[in-house]
């Protein structure tokens, strides 16, 4: 019996077969590559943390250097209290701060804030993750504070899909380096960082924004100040 290729039965049969084949291929590929992808993401996170304290690492030595520099990590609440006995996915390294920021079911006051304690050249540095909104999507980064709890030792920012050449420049060294040495506290209270238009960034607590990338620059400002205020609660108790 010849198959009628224009018939409904053939059309349905073909579609079902195609979907099953494609589904099996794609899901087995995804599951098969899962460990590799997870490892890549974890190494990237370690590289970002190291980058904030000014240690350049590659995917190869990221793991090793992380063990060398980062000594302790813990999680604090919005009140600045250290949280103990958390499940694994809520411990400092595994806590997904991006997901937590995005999740509308988690109230802002219920968010958890990880702290990574590292030692570089004999000095203690606190690495603090920050998450915020850019123009097109999420932006995030790590801020390293010196052990006076108010001087920024270094930062590393990243983004998902900011405009190349404009907002995407927040991850470039020239932008990040401006934050080094800025003080986020003045006379004992939180002062904040202001991202300003080109030229006046040399003043204290001000950094130059990116020309043509104003919304992303302002996003960085909002993200840094909102998160640093929370961390300041913890540091002021120390």
């Amino acid at each position: 019996m010849a198959i009628n290729k224009d018939g409904n039965a053939y059309t349905f049969g073909f579609s079902i077969a195609l979907v099953v084949v494609v589904g099996v291929v794609l899901s087995s590929l995804s599951i098969g590559l899962e460990p590799l992808k997870k490892a890549n993401v974890a190494v990237k996170k370690k590289m970002d943390i190291l980058s904030a304290i000014g240690v350049e690492s590659t995917r190869k030595n990221g793991e090793e250097l992380y063990k060398e520099y980062v000594e302790d990590s813990y999680v604090i609440s919005t009140d600045g209290e250290v949280q103990k006995d958390l499940p694994k996915e809520k411990t400092a390294f595994y806590l997904d701060v991006k997901k937590q920021y995005r999740d509308k079911n988690i109230k802002p006051e219920d968010r958890l804030y990880p702290i990574f304690e590292a030692t570089k050249d004999g000095n203690k540095v606190f690495v603090l993750p920050v998450v915020g909104k850019g123009l097109w999507g999420p932006i995030w980064g790590y801020i390293a504070l010196k052990d006076d709890y108010k001087t920024i030792a270094g930062v590393s920012f990243d983004h998902q899909g900011e405009t190349p050449g404009l907002g995407a420049e927040i991850k470039q060294d020239f932008f990040e380096e401006q934050f080094e040495g800025e003080k986020i506290a003045k006379n004992g209270s939180y002062a904040g960082i202001e991202v300003v238009k080109n030229g006046s960034g040399t003043e204290p607590q001000k950094v130059d924004g990116i020309t043509g990338g104003t919304i992303t620059s302002k996003g960085v400002e909002e993200m840094v100040n909102r998160t640093m205020k929370v961390y300041q609660k913890y540091f002021s108790k120390k």
């Binding site: 224009d6 059309t11 073909f14 590929l29 405009t163 190349p164 050449g165 960034g201 130059d208």
Partner: protein, 229 residues
């Protein structure tokens, strides 16, 4: 020529006959998917700010296009005609997901650079266009050649536009400064003399203008391409 003669002649057609060569060379110039058929403009606009991104995008498109055309061509006698567009869409979407997964697992740095743009390959009308116009009615080998030709035709326009935009918009090629440093306070090279990057180059409209200039040059070179009105 009688039909039998033609049938006898067919298997003897050399692998790279004139006709097959044309499949590759045509889309590079006189039948370019971007400048002549005006397809795939959206991605020409989105990822031509930097040469590096345009390069990785081109590589991904070549992969998706070649395998897509091959698969569609192999299945061309099996695909029910009433659902052929959706079948082609499933094929291109699956290939894009495969590319994305591979990049994430094996070259995570490239995956980060392309970020969301890999997904946009699905919406590239050149790919669906070639599936429907060529692979559905041709044998696998010519389909592969057609895919290579069209993907490269797309790639070179992408790289040309990205080159112009990166040089004049950021003063760089593949991320390397060519006019000197333009960091505030430590200008060097051309910037020291007062040169400034053209920020318009970085904005999307400039991609269209650059593509327009390429179309203009192409049509002054080859008058056959100019439509009569």
């Amino acid at each position: 020529m009688s039909e039998t003669e033609e049938n006898l002649k067919k298997p003897k057609e050399p692998l790279f006959s004139k006709k097959n060569k044309k499949l590759i060379t045509d889309p590079l110039s006189d039948n370019n998917p971007i400048t002549i058929q005006v397809l795939g403009i959206c991605s020409a606009l989105a990822i031509t700010v930097q040469v590096e991104q345009a390069f990785w995008m081109s590589i991904s498109v070549v992969f998706v296009m070649v395998f897509g055309n091959l698969i569609v061509s192999l299945l061309r006698n099996l695909i029910p005609s009433r659902v052929r567009i959706i079948v082609q869409l499933v094929i291109v979407a699956s290939l894009v997901i495969i590319v994305n997964e591979m990049l994430k697992a094996f070259v995570p740095d490239v995956s980060e650079k392309l970020s969301v743009f890999v997904g946009l390959i699905i919406t590239n009308c050149i790919i669906m266009g070639r599936f429907e116009a060529f692979a559905m009615s041709n044998k696998p080998f010519p389909s592969i050649l057609d895919a290579i030709g069209n993907a490269l035709g797309y790639a070179w326009i992408l790289l040309a536009v990205a080159f112009v935009r990166e040089v004049f918009g950021s003063g760089k090629i593949w991320g390397y400064e060519i006019f000197g440093s333009n960091l505030p306070g430590e200008e060097s090279g051309l910037y020291e003399m007062g040169y400034m990057n053209n920020n318009l180059m970085i904005l999307p409209p400039m991609a269209l203008i650059v593509v327009g200039i390429i179309i203009w040059i192409q049509r002054t070179q080859n008058k056959d391409l100019v439509e009569e009105h």
